[in-house]
């Protein structure tokens, strides 16, 4: 199975870390993975995106022109990436940050109100995990256990206490689609 994914939003929304956790989960399952950030002077408030590829076969290019899935967290990213989802592909977006919803009919569009739900659950800092949960419900390319192991690997030890909350957020995200 192969998934070519773009995750895009504002810096500080956890775009890069969502991608990193997904890539790590793939690594744990022995898959081939690449994680390619659009790096730059971007900081909190600027735009940020990352291309993640998870594949059973070796990966050719870490840079792509079209994607199987786009996870979109803000309006500028919607404008940039809606057109780059492959026909039949998946677009997941957070309703909070989007003023003009996507219009394409040849792709599967899912609105997930992750930010609103996160605010209600007091999990606002990990609303990205809700979106990751929604994604994994639609495309179970890695197991939840692998995601939890990946969190252990990527989070500094002092934050390991937050892993149960992350798990809760992922499960909530799975319910939302």
């Amino acid at each position: 199975m192969k998934q070519e994914i773009i995750i895009a939003g504002f810096g500080g929304q956890g775009v890069l870390s969502m991608g990193k956790i997904l890539a790590y989960s793939g690594l744990i399952e022995g898959k081939e993975v690449t994680w390619m950030p659009a790096y730059g002077p971007e900081q909190r408030g600027g735009t940020a995106n990352v291309t993640v590829i998870v594949n059973d076969e070796p990966i050719s290019s870490p840079i792509l022109s079209t994607y199987d899935t786009a996870i979109i967290l803000n309006q500028p990213s919607m404008e940039k990436f809606e057109s780059k989802v492959k026909p039949g592909g998946t677009l997941i977006y957070d309703g909070y940050g989007i003023s003009v919803p996507p219009t394409r009919k040849d792709i599967n569009v899912y609105r997930v109100d992750a930010m609103d739900v996160a605010a209600k659950m007091n999990l606002i800092k990990i609303f990205n995990m809700i979106l990751l949960g929604s994604y994994l419900k639609l495309h179970p390319i890695v197991k939840i256990e692998s995601v939890l192991s990946a969190l252990k690997k990527t989070l500094p030890e002092r934050h390991h206490g937050l892993i149960p909350q992350n798990e809760e957020a992922i499960k909530k995200g799975m319910e939302l689609v």
Binding site: W35, S60, P62, I63, L64
Partner: protein
């Protein structure tokens, strides 16, 4: 270490970990995007507490490369890393290192120029790396990794070749491979060489003269032109030997290919994707990837030009390696170039379009 350690890391981090593990004695550098993680990772790892490797942030790139000169003169395994503008600042030192025949490793995680340019990826330093950069008739051994795994492996290879030929080696990479995270199996630990081993393996080094031995002099200065010509002739013989023995390439889907893309580093990854896409449309195309940019794979490109009908040089620059390809092809078949400039990376589908233009 018996256990295989497979992990996920950035190319820049892999360079730092490989440096520690390969028994490097000293790193001297100065931060610059997109290579700063090399120095950051070394600072986090604190190898001075484990292997004894020195890690020093110098006050500039100029002093970094001169610290490399000093360390290399004593037979130590030393390195620096920077990105394009910083590498330009080092060129005087690199020429001196080549002139004094000192082994070392210089890593260039290049970015778009000219000038201060951009921090986005570029391959526009091919000319600088392979055709001089500094002054004088010299060559660097230039390796171009195209994966995070090769970033780690080529640190080992670069030092091996640098010491084998007493010549500076360069890893020429860019922001794509430097910033990307991929699976990597870190190579096994090698202990740093002892003083005794350095004396045995580097009889030329200035590391304390035993009684009765003539002084070892490390210099690139020779005012007598007759002697200087002799030195140059000796250097050229060495370069010819490297050209003969050290060319490395990767071939991908070339067996039945009617057309070929030649690309290095990150562009070679994009080329592989373009080849997958083109083959879905029935176009028989393959890739020749120079791993050594210098020595350039002259014979391999020449042989390729007798096999395929046309070559596309895919580079993230305005057309630099294509000059070497055309020399090797010598007019036998059409050779075209496609590249994006200033930090824009060519997408795989753009390469397919260019390939179709070549076929028409």
């Amino acid at each position: 270490m018996a256990e295989r350690e497979i992990t996920l890391m950035k190319g820049n981090e892999a360079i730092a970990h490989a440096a520690i593990r390969c028994g490097c004695d000293g790193y001297f550098g100065y931060p610059i995007t997109p290579q700063s993680e090399v120095l950051e990772t070394l600072a986090e790892q604190k190898p001075w507490e484990t292997t004894g490797m020195v890690v020093l942030q110098a006050e500039s790139e100029t002093s970094s490369i001169n610290m490399v000169y000093g360390g290399a003169a004593t037979g130590k395994k030393v390195m620096t890393s920077s990105s394009s503008p910083g590498i330009s600042l080092m060129q005087e030192g690199i020429s001196y290192l080549a002139g004094a025949e000192l082994p070392c490793l210089v890593v260039n995680v290049s970015r778009g120029g000219p000038g201060l340019g951009t921090i986005q990826p570029s391959q526009a330093d091919y000319f600088q790396s392979c055709k001089g950069g500094g002054h004088g008739d010299y060559r660097l051994i230039v390796l171009a990794p195209s994966s995070v795994q090769e970033m780690a492996d080529f640190v080992y290879l670069a030092f091996e070749l640098a010491f084998k030929y007493r010549n500076p080696a360069m890893i020429l990479t860019d922001g794509v491979i430097g910033q990307m995270m991929e699976k990597v199996e870190l190579p096994p630990f090698k202990a740093r060489r002892t003083e005794k081993e350095i004396i045995e393996q580097c009889p030329w080094a200035a590391n304390g003269r035993p009684a009765g031995r003539k002084p070892n002099i490390i210099t690139s200065l020779e005012l007598d032109p007759a002697v200087m010509e002799e030195i140059n002739i000796r250097l050229q013989k060495k370069y010819a030997q490297i050209q003969e023995n050290e060319v490395r390439v990767e071939e991908f889907m070339l067996e039945d290919a009617e057309y070929a893309i030649v690309a290095f580093g990150s562009a070679a990854r994009i080329a592989k994707k373009a080849i997958e896409m083109a083959r879905e449309e029935g176009i028989k195309v393959g890739l020749l990837r120079p791993i050594t940019l210098w020595p350039f794979p002259i014979k391999e490109v020449e042989a390729l030009s007798k096999k395929v009908k046309g070559i596309l040089s895919l580079e993230i620059n305005a057309g630099q390696m294509v000059e070497d390809i055309r020399l090797a092809v010598n007019g036998r078949i059409p050779v075209s170039h496609y590249g994006r400039l200033g930090g824009i990376i060519p997408a795989p589908d753009e390469a397919v379009v260019e390939l179709k233009k070549l076929i028409k």
